[in-house]
Subunit: 131 residues, 2 copies
Amino acid sequence: MKRIKLRPGMARPGWDDPEDCRAVLKVLDRIGDKWTVMAVGALADGPMRFNAVLRLTGASHRMLTLTLRGLEAEGLVKRTAYATIPPKVEYELTRLGHSLIEPLQSIAAWAKRNRRAMETARAKFEAAKAE
Amino acid sequence: MKRIKLRPGMARPGWDDPEDCRAVLKVLDRIGDKWTVMAVGALADGPMRFNAVLRLTGASHRMLTLTLRGLEAEGLVKRTAYATIPPKVEYELTRLGHSLIEPLQSIAAWAKRNRRAMETARAKFEAAKAE
DNA sequence: CAGTATCCCGTCGGATACTG
DNA sequence: CAGTATCCGACGGGATACTG
């Protein structure tokens, strides 16, 4: 998804409370992007080394580093470096990070339920505009 | 959020079932971006005209059009044009669109609960790296 | 009022190369 | 192996102008 930039002039959506809308957007900004979802998913099973996450997610070296830094900064992921040679760094979800899995699964469940509906709707839409 | 581009070489995260991971990413791609969240939020209360959504969301003319087109294509929003002069176009959430509010609120609830924790974590992180 | 088209700049993110 | 730095192409998205 596109990076979310918060700006002054905009109002709050009505489905949720007045001001916390900002918080929601901010959080979506953090957890809504592809690599974050993949990384959290990868780490859901337990601690994992950098390269393991790299392979599992398919992210580029660069993006995974940035993503993990972001998650670490926000307290969602714990980073543990072992001063061995070669270095070994393990990442794991914090309690906070784990708690994120539940809402993500809420989305996941919705996605699974409605994927077909969306696909057929899209097909119909495409067909209609090419009449 | 950043647009999500699905690519071949990548595996599924473990927190969720094997293949539907793609569906989740695809859905996040659609519903995870700023303007979609804003638009769905704006329409949650009921049908609304284009310009009303425009003002409420703070989106640019262009982006709102694109966003609404996307939502319409996916069957989340219904578009009704009245052939008056000047034209009047109303948008409203479909049943499918409404069902999306629930998972979004799941995220919203998480965001509200953990916003503080994330902020302090970030502050601590910033402080630590500037020691 | 709603929608489309064009321009254009910022930034996201992949590839590559270099360090500890 | 893990992380940082640099380069650079691609595209997201705002501003603007023009139609029905």
